[in-house]
């Protein structure tokens, strides 16, 4: 857990005092990633660097796991905080192994223990230990270097990590890969992480919470979903972008919106059965056909059922698209747009049908949140049909 209490930094510049961070109060619960987000010069980096005293706070306190860090000496404090910077900062004079094990060595681990730890970390970041440990940073690509940078910060297993735009200097494709790897790692490691970013998409993807900064003030501190649904003011709203509702699609899983009551036919059913079930359930377009394992194998369009006779098996058409219940809505919407359809069958990891998802259900789910928020201030009736 990281807690900041009235953390303030005033820089003395030739033009006078500049308040870089003004009474910042916030708390990051254990095991969560908190993204500090804002335009440049907003105080997010200053706030981050005050935690490990790269920048000395003018006033205020930093608590880590309820311990006031003011009482700790700077070296001890820093050795217990993993630190990753945008420029990576691997030591070019040291091999990868020496770089990774620097903190354990500073802490006085014995050689056997830290060498073992180095191999363990290399496996964690998916780089082959034998191929890389004896090489030098200049021999690695940018993406590999930043993975090593993360491994170095994790070496002594600190409970808390500070990351200053760690993936900012990596090309977009590699960045996405490293972000995914990092999220996967974090699920096991459960570190408490403060993470500076200026990229709203990265923040939504990585953050359990997002803190928006402006001119040295903490403007809003909320979960990504809350933030996108209810930005506090015009600044936050404009910073999130006009497509903020679309960004929420990333955060909602198909299973949150799924309608599990879904009518089906089997391959042996007749077309009359299919038509009657379509009419009974009020489906506009088609009904899903499943096999014995309840896996979707085709669809019977309403128009075909109306004019054909015989078994469903002979008239079924290919399922245009299927979405997994663990996918996010962004993928579901993308599949709908790509196939010109308004609903999708949803399956679990065994490819068994679990339900279906419709455009209407999605807009309703997203809109409900916005309505609830705006309902507090303006009690106008929401615009719903039905």
């Amino acid at each position: 857990m990281i807690r900041l209490e009235n953390l303030t930094k005033v820089f003395d510049t030739p033009k006078g005092a500049v308040v870089a961070a003004d009474h910042i109060n916030m708390e990051v619960p254990s095991g969560e990633i908190c993204i500090l987000l804002g335009p440049s010069g907003c105080g997010k980096t200053t706030t981050l660097k005050m935690i490990n005293r790269i920048i000395r706070p003018t006033s205020g306190k930093v608590f880590i796991d309820n311990q006031d860090t003011t009482s700790l000496d700077t070296q001890t404090l820093r050795r217990n905080i993993g630190y990753v910077i945008q420029q990576i900062g691997l030591f070019p004079n040291m091999t990868i192994e020496e770089n990774i094990t620097i903190v354990p060595r500073l802490l006085g681990w014995n050689a056997k223990k830290y060498k073992e730890r180095a191999r363990e970390l290399m496996h964690m970041i998916a780089l082959e230990p034998d191929a890389f440990l004896k090489r030098y940073p200049s021999e690695l690509s940018g993406g590999q270097q930043q993975r090593i940078g993360v491994a170095r910060a994790l070496a002594a297993d600190p409970p808390v990590m500070l990351m200053d735009e760690p993936f900012g200097a990596i090309d977009p494709i590699n960045r996405a890969v490293i972000q995914d790897e990092f999220i996967k790692m974090q699920k096991e490691l459960k570190k408490t992480i403060m993470f500076v970013s200026h990229d709203i998409d990265e923040a939504i993807k990585m953050g359990d919470r997002i803190a928006i900064f402006r001119d040295g003030h903490l403007v809003q501190y909320a979960t990504p979903d809350e933030l996108l649904a209810a930005p506090q003011d015009n600044f936050v709203e404009s910073f999130l972008g006009e497509d903020r509702a679309l960004k929420r699609l990333n955060l909602i899983k198909v299973q949150d919106v799924i309608n599990s009551e879904v009518e089906t036919v089997t391959q042996q059913d007749s077309m009359e059965t299919a038509l009657s079930r379509i009419d009974r359930s009020g489906y506009q377009h088609a009904i899903i056909m499943v096999n014995e394992q309840r896996q979707p194998t085709g669809i019977i369009p309403r128009s075909v059922a109306q004019v054909s006779k015989g078994r469903c098996h002979d008239h079924a058409q290919q399922v245009p698209a299927i979405v997994n219940i663990n996918d996010d809505l962004r993928k579901a919407v993308s599949l709908m747009l790509a196939n010109d359809i308004t609903w999708l069958p949803c399956v679990d990891d065994n490819n068994q049908l679990c339900g279906h998802i419709t455009q209407r259900a999605m807009t309703h789910h997203l809109g409900a949140r916005f309505r609830a928020q705006s309902g507090n201030t303006a009690p106008t009736a929401p615009l719903t049909e039905e």
Partner: protein, 246 residues
Amino acid sequence: MPIQSMNGMLRVLLLIAAFSLGVWGHASGVIDEFLFYLPDVQFLAVEHLWLTAISGALAIIVAIPLGIVLSRPSMARWAESAMQVLNIGTTIPTLAVLALSMSLLGIGIVPAVFGLFVATLLPITRNTYTGLKGVSPALKEAAAGIGMSPAQRLMRVELPNALYVIFAGIRTALAINIGTVPLAFLIGAGGLGELIFTGIDLYDPVMMLAGAIPTAILAILVDALIALIAFVIVPRGVNPARKARA
């Protein structure tokens, strides 16, 4: 191919030139005259090297810590002015430095070593200072953020990354030093300058060359030696001479 054959041609020409030089040297008796000075050259070369070794070692011992101290952030206010003073120090010709040192310390080895020390000091200090200042701020921040003490930062990160530049300074300084030692003869310190200046005075070119050529060879050898030491000591990751694997 044409370039290669050019190289081949050049090599053959060089061989022929060296051979003719040998023939001429033998025919005119220069080589015999040269050999006449061999015992002198041996004795004076050792003296020469001692002067370089003592003054060079003193300069390294003083200059590197001085460069380190000047590069510390707390010294930032004075560092530039101190470097300016040292810069002015180098513009004084070494002969003048030797003359000044003689007027202070008299004749002999001590003023010579002092004069050489002063002439050697600056390049090493300057390169140590620039080398340390040139270490990327990101590295220093990473080192600090990891929890290294200032001394650990210096020893494990800053110095190793500045070492190549520091060694370049030592190479320059010692080359200057060896080239300046002959002047030390003028204030009574010995060295190969004895043959050079006596040769000039007696209008004896062979004697002069018997001093000059070994001086040049010593300079090249010492330079190569320092380069070798740098090659071994500077870590592979920051050593341009040891190319990193791609």
